[in-house]
């Protein structure tokens, strides 16, 4: 059995999967990956079930080393620089780390969470059917806490399968869509209008429990708490200080602040990827549109295995073309040259 050793890792990085719904009535939050689409994309690249456990990597850098054999992995989610033992590693593509090779990742650029899936998944002891880390409840496996340097994840020996690439539709841009309620009647029209018309930023103090929003103060009508009721991923609660908090995967299952709106399920992963300090807007949609988007998103998740294909790698193509040329086909070496014009720097080095 091979293993993947965490050589270095920043905070807010942990093993996550599709989560553990089903025990919210006992106060246990489902947890799970902040961006499920990215989790699923990484998993299907290495032949795993879409919501198998993978490494959720927070905004900071990380390094992983294969030991006791080769490990096949795939990266998806927030882009960042990635170097696999001197080779530039690509997102949305599988790769194999030979024994002793290290994959080094930089800071997230234009996102917050990246996912590293390991072929065969992560070995661990599921709790309520999930390996997802929920540090407060002492849940998660193999480590019931965020990952630290020195941690080791058992992995199956790399299969040697050809590397794969996934074609994802272009990421949605534009406002984060919400359905108003369940307690929007605790806010007057001015407060609701300000909520929907303003520019917001995700605060740097955000975490997997909730994203704090920076923007105008949103005051509720009664100036006091409501009687606690249930929360969902994406509930936007407004405490007495008027600064909204969007509840995320590690949220409390109930809360006593009025909830002005809820991020639609299709947009939660996209919202989770908004880096601290970046401006965004909110747009209210009707229930019909929100549920149509939920169905569209479910269809996208289902389509992921069909979106995986062979790698269109330049080097490989050129090899193939050269071979073809040698064999006397019509493709000439000149044609190959026009595909890849060496830069001035490369010529100088020659």
């Amino acid at each position: 059995m091979s293993k993947l050793v965490i050589s270095a890792i920043g905070p807010a990085s942990s093993v996550q999967d599709g989560g553990r719904p089903g025990a919210q009535r006992y106060g246990l939050t489902p947890s799970g990956a902040m961006d499920r689409l990215a989790l699923a994309a990484a998993n299907v690249l290495v032949g795993n079930a879409p919501f198998a456990a993978a490494i959720e990597i927070g905004p900071f850098g990380a390094a992983f080393t294969a030991r006791d054999g080769a490990v096949r992995v795939a990266l998806a989610g927030a882009p960042r620089s990635a170097d696999a033992a001197g080779r530039a590693a690509t997102f949305d593509t599988s790769m194999t780390l030979a024994d002793g090779e290290t994959l080094t990742l930089g800071f997230a650029r234009g996102g917050a969470f990246s996912y590293l899936a390991i072929e065969g998944g992560i070995a661990g002891e599921p709790m309520f059917g999930s390996l997802a880390v929920n540090a407060r409840a002492g849940l998660g496996s193999p480590y019931p806490r965020p990952l630290q340097a020195g941690d080791e994840l058992q992995a199956k020996a790399a299969s040697g399968a050809a590397e794969r690439r996934i074609e994802l539709p272009p990421a949605l841009d534009g406002p984060i869509r919400v359905v108003m309620g369940p307690q929007d009647d605790e806010f007057d029209d001015d407060a609701k209008a300000r909520f929907l018309a303003s520019e917001w930023k995700v605060s740097a103090t955000s975490d997997r429990m909730g994203y704090r929003l920076e923007g105008p103060v949103i005051k509720d009508l009664h100036g006091h708490n409501i009687v606690s009721d249930g929360t969902v991923d994406g509930s936007i609660q407004v405490p007495g200080n008027g600064a909204p908090i969007v509840l995320m995967r590690d949220r409390g299952t109930s809360g006593g602040y009025p909830k002005i709106a809820t991020v639609i399920s299709a947009d939660i992963g996209r919202f989770a990827q908004i880096p601290a300090g970046k401006a965004f807007r909110i747009r209210a949609v009707g229930m019909q549109e929100a549920q149509a988007e939920a169905r569209r998103f479910a269809g996208l998740l289902q389509s992921l295995p069909d979106r995986v294909g062979g790698i269109d790698n330049f080097d490989l193509n050129i090899e193939a073309l050269r071979d073809a040329n040698v064999a006397g086909s019509a493709v000439s070496a000149v044609d190959i040259g026009t595909w890849q014009t060496p830069s001035a720097d490369a010529l100088a080095q020659d």
């Binding site: 006992y26 849940l139 409390g252």
Partner: protein, 243 residues
């Protein structure tokens, strides 16, 4: 069958959950209706409903919008919620030991002073109560109990504590509660119970269900220490009284 009950409010909690609201306040009748609807949903298994979360005054119903949409499920829930509340056939009743005051209940003396009585009187009143688990929420096993006598109602602390111990039994507003894990709280700490309402490698992992009846009895700090060790080893310390 004539419907005699008022319809609940059907509130959207995003596109994959509905809040069925029976009241805006802490209200025993509303909580009974919440628990009744929860039982009906458990019995009838509506396609698409994935999970329910009872609270004091509302039932949160999680569902899969690919299987059933908001309008269809909302109509079904209104219909189910207006059926007569069926009599509860079996209620579990628990007796839960609490070590009151001292290091286990650092607010007991303050509470007594505020309410111009003695710590012993506060304890006597708290153990005399007949409580019901109205909801479990926030963190695993945090059990919110209804039935606190009016004399013990107290506004929450101005400054919530960032860390209160596991097993804390406290009062806040019109409620009393058992907190399983260490964490923040703005309530007044009366004591600690060795009972784990949530313990990972124990069967059952979650001891209490919404709707369970609870009474407390006082133990001393020595008994607490002994029972705490036994509970840590996985023993269920709470006494289950057949109903």
């Amino acid at each position: 069958m004539a419907t005699t009950l008022s319809p609940p409010r059907i509130l959207p909690s995003g596109d994959a959950a509905i809040t069925v609201e029976f009241s805006r306040n802490i209200d025993d009748t509303a909580n009974q209706r919440v628990l009744a609807l929860d039982r009906v949903l458990a019995d009838e298994q509506v396609a698409g409903v994935t999970e329910t979360v009872p609270t004091y005054r509302s039932l949160l119903v999680h569902y899969d919008p690919v299987v059933i949409d908001f309008d269809a499920l909302g109509a079904k829930l209104v219909d189910m919620a207006q059926r007569p509340v069926p009599p509860v056939t079996k209620t579990r009743r628990w007796r839960i030991p609490v070590s009151y005051g001292g290091e286990h209940g650092i607010d007991l003396e303050d509470v007594a002073r505020t309410l111009t009585t003695t710590p012993d009187d506060i304890v006597a009143r708290h153990v005399a109560g007949d409580y019901r688990v109205a909801m479990i929420g926030f963190t695993p096993g945090w059990s919110y109990l209804s039935g606190l006598e009016k004399f013990l109602h107290m506004p929450r602390r101005q400054n919530p504590r960032l860390l209160t111990p596991a097993g804390t039994v406290s009062v806040g507003g019109v409620q009393t509660g058992i907190q399983c894990l260490a964490g923040p709280s703005g309530w007044h700490l009366l004591g600690r119970t060795p009972v784990r309402t949530y313990q990972l490698h124990r069967n059952p992992t979650f001891l209490l269900e919404p709707g369970d009846c609870i009474t407390f009895f006082a133990i001393d700090a020595k008994a607490f220490a002994e029972q705490d060790r036994a509970a840590e080893a996985g023993e269920i310390i709470a006494e289950l009284i057949a109903s």
